[in-house]
Amino acid sequence: MSTDTQEREQELQGVGCSRKRKEDPRFIQGKGNYVDDVKLPNMLVGKAIRSPFAHAKIISINKDAALALPGVHAVLTAEDLKPLSLHWMPTLAGDVCAVLADEKVSFQYQEVAFVIADNRYIAADAADLVAVEYEELPVVVDPHHAMDDDAAIVRDDLVGKDNAGQGARKHNNHIFNWDVGDKDATDRAFESAEVTVKEKMINHRVHASPLETCGCVASFDKVKGDMTIYMTSQAPHIVRTVVTLLSGIPESKVRVISPDIGGGFGNKVGIYPGYVCAIVASIVLGRPVKWIEDRIENLSTTAFARDYHMEGELAADKEGNIKALRVNVLADHGAFNTHAQPTKWPAGLFSICTGSYDIPVAYANVDGVFTNKASGGVSYRCSFRVTEAVYVVERTIDVLAQKLNMDPAEIRMKNFIKPEQFPYQSALGWEYDSGDYHTALKKVMEAVDYEGLRKEQAEKKARGEIMGIGLCTFTEIVGAGPSKACDILGVGMFDSAEIRIHPTGSAIARMGTISQGQGHETTYAQIIASELGLSSDNIQIEEGDTDTAPYGLGTYGSRTTPVGGAATVKAARKIREKARKIAAHLLEVSENDLEWDVDQFRVVGSPDQAKTMKEIAWAAYNDVPDGMEMGLEAVDYYDPPNFTFPFGAYLAVVDIDRHTGETKVRRFYALDDCGTRINPMIIEGQIHGGLNEGYAVAMGQELPYDAEGNLSGNTFMDYFIPTMVETPKWELDYTVTPSPHHPMGAKGVAESPHVGSIPCFSNAINDAFMQFGATKHIDMPHNAFRVWKTIKEMGLNKG
């Protein structure tokens, strides 16, 4: 490549460079615009009144005292919403969810009433004055007892219905059964196997808890009949459609704006009762209504993650060659099935649970149940149920290694899908696009001196010191997804980009996705810069306003780069094709005589004859070939042909204090392969953040319920968010195996570190104790108290 070409490429700040973020100047100067910063004239504030009980009949609600308080405008209950048919709302999973409790409450902190007042202080006073009389009912807390004969019924509204929206059910508290794979062949493989292992393990109930809680400002203009909603939403376009379906307001008169969002991590995908109450209140009162939940409400009500009770089994021969995988899951969805998934997938993409391994037959079976706990089941920084799937296979393979007395690295190397097997058909129906797992793990083992670490571990063991080494070699499935397999409420899971080039060669582009910190304003511009030869500094990116952006399904499940990124490439290439025609016209040559060169079309064999994209942009508005439309813009709605399958190899080294149970993460080495890398700086930032969230889940986060269904840890005092003190140092590495079906080979990255690190930490803790003879799997969260209990049970604190 010539120096001139290199210089021109560098000037573009395109794909592959660590461009500084376009978002940062406003954030570092306090000029971000988050939902709670929105202040409209005559705006009121709404606040929910919540149930103190997990399960209780509502005998009466007296709102007189609250309504008598000056500055209170209304108190809404289910009775008030009934005439509008808005006291219940449909969920993405085919169920319904109470907007305000209808005759009974089914979980602690459920919304019972909603006050609207002049300001937050009066709203809080009024909430205290609403008198609700309850009659307590027996509760179902443990999902393992949800389907007992004498279990209390969580959902009276579903009694007598043999279908709760996702197929046949067999008990009043049963939601669905979903299975995949060849059960008979799998059972036969287990019967004839030389070695089998079986372990029960829990992916416990956690919460994504972004630092900005959920909220909205709903503003209904009674004169025009327009509804504008500022909302903390990862999927504003779908919200618009749902608002129309619920309210009857034409979609053209509903505008949803997701402004700057203070982290999402899956918590901001769903539509929650507070949003609906604010919208209804604005329609009823004709004034803007703001609802912002507080931290306790966020942790207690708006969509937990996980709560998967799994049993993983592997069958193998004596040499460690895996023959079959079988997984049974009991999924606790809480009081309503508000699981956020593509419609056809009651257990999300859990069937990725064969992982990175060439497993001939497999079978997975999932039962979902109702309990008297908050509803949810969102994907906390992962594609749908992928964290759970990766955990079960990555933990169980370690259990198998232990039984065979093999090293966890050796058994992985032996069973990896080989590079030449891609595209690979998995036993549970996926076509993995690309991968090179052997290279990734080998690179990690060399970087950390794996053999040296194992030697050190053995030496420490001899001295009674507890050191653990955890591995995780995961494969994700992201980028939902092909519309033939994935939809949300009937809308296919495509995504979109619209690019417009201005006459002087700058551009604006709008996408159907929405950043919550991922840096889309920076990275989308890099893609367009590389495709069109225009400097990314002159490309403005906008998202999140449904009045201006093309329809898209939003940002979650690592789908932005695989789907929205692909739409961006395709739209840019449409523009480049038109530009080629204009260039041919300007240069008076045939299109076929032109070649693309960084930022210009030039005549083959005559490089001095060229037209830059900037020159072409100008011509597009005054000198185009006969019969061609003026202008230079394109839109693309991209329906991906397949998912993408990012992968990685992670290794953790932990030292456990045998007297206190405290775990120190000495090393964490993360190698990720997300295909083509758009902005290495942003990729590394995403990985740091995902690793820290994985650390939080594995080592401490938990939403704990007592036997009465009381949530006993719903503030940041109790709910573990790592500070800088306990957060480990991260060492990063990468390989690049492009996706063959993505137009630029990219796969998505932000969730891999969360998905991959949780089993890695858990494997390290389990490895630490397995060497001392532990034979049973140890469940997360691996906080100091629980680790100390294990130490004590095993007598490792003596001496």
Binding site: K20, T715, V725
Partner: protein, 158 residues
């Protein structure tokens, strides 16, 4: 509820307003005085996104009454670049990719600003302890720590 008159300096400007005695400083700064750079994340003083500077000390403004700021000197993220130039911590956070969603950033910057005056030449361990009242969910902290180190060097060189 009866209101109390308070006045204080906010980012170099004298401000005065009427508040209820129970009103929190963060609510007054954001909702009455319109400076929305400081955020609200937990209202229990754990997350630190509301961190401001009051009379030369870092303060979580969600757990202080506005009346307690009466006669005081309050600085928020909006005051960091008051001279017209970005402060070294602002520049360093941008340069080192020390922020993602931006929600914790104003609090992080205000704590860094004060911390580097308390300890102009900190070790990594000291940064980790000195900043531990500020939570971030996006960054995994590594680049924030790097940014504070870079800012410290820059400020030392001045």
């Amino acid at each position: 509820m009866a209101k109390t008159h308070i006045q204080f300096t906010l980012n170099g400007q004298e401000v005065e307003t009427l508040v209820e005695p129970r009103e929190l400083l963060i609510h007054v700064i954001r909702e009455q005085l319109g400076q929305t750079g400081s955020h609200i994340g937990c209202e229990t003083s754990h997350c630190g996104v509301c961190t401001v500077d009051l009379n030369g000390e870092s303060l979580k403004s969600c757990t202080v009454l506005a009346v307690q700021a009466n006669g005081g000197n309050v600085m928020t993220v909006e005051g960091l670049a008051a001279s017209g130039e970005l402060h070294a911590v602002q520049e360093a956070f941008m340069q080192e990719h020390g922020l993602q969603c931006g929600f914790c950033t104003p609090g992080m910057l205000m704590r860094s600003y004060r911390f580097l005056q308390e300890n102009p030449n900190p070790t990594e361990e000291e940064i980790r302890y000195g900043m531990s009242g500020n939570l971030c969910r996006c960054t995994g902290y590594q680049n924030i720590i790097k940014a504070i180190q870079v800012a410290a060097e820059k400020l030392q060189a001045k």
